[in-house]
Symmetry: C2
Subunit: 138 residues, 2 copies
């Protein structure tokens, strides 16, 4: 199991340290995007700053992408597959459930093409939907 985790990191050119393996393992267990504070609580008693830097490195290397769901703190989730360092390909919709307050990636919902005014060039698109998720529908 741990072996597989190491491979993942190596494949992204990230030195597989104990801390990073722990964070990666924790991320793999999540069903939704989580904040730095969530990681901190799940991996007690780890240092917050270290976790911050681990996630930052993961982001730089294209292992995770961060989502700003308006909660103030960024959420992190593992990238699908084909993200390379520096260029993310996560053109999917992010969903924030106002009931359970979970942020999740709707990898199957692609972001539709957006028509921009003349002279505007798009580099990155982020679509955030808020509402009620399937688990919280009454």
């Amino acid at each position: 199991m741990i072996k597989g985790l190491e491979d993942i990191l190596n494949h992204k050119s990230i030195n597989p340290t104990a801390m990073r393996l722990l964070v990666l393992e924790f991320l793999l267990k999540q069903s939704s995007a989580i904040s730095l504070t969530d990681v901190e609580k799940g991996l007690e008693p780890s240092d917050r700053v270290t976790l911050y830097r681990v996630l930052k490195k993961f982001g730089e290397k294209g292992l995770v992408h961060s989502i700003d769901d308006g909660s103030g703190a960024p959420k992190y989730a593992l990238c699908a597959e084909d993200c390379v360092a520096g260029h993310h390909h996560d053109f999917h919709v992010h969903f924030f459930c106002t009931a359970c307050r979970e942020t999740s990636c709707l990898t199957k919902s692609k972001i539709p093409q957006v028509v921009l005014p003349e002279g505007f060039a798009s580099e990155e698109v982020n679509l955030m939907v808020k509402g009620t998720c399937s688990k919280c529908i009454p």
Copy 2:
């Protein structure tokens, strides 16, 4: 002129105080969405907290909407037209130019319909595009 400003506030059931008129006037002069710090600098030497509360009230009453462009601080812009207290209708695209670092409302670019998975109900949609705006194209 000031008379017109008062009308705007009254129409939204906001007591027209000096401070609020100033903020509204400042907002009307902007061509892009601005942060609380921007307002503070433009209206020196005003108290930041007061401006914060003014903007908050404007938001509650449907006069302005706030945009989270990922810069850490929310940006504010006047609502188009028919926003009512509590329910915003700003289904337009927000654009962040990575060159001039300005956030603007593309009121003509409507957010396309998003297909959500079964069981998901959408209440609010936010589409943030990052790239280069027409003024910054080489």
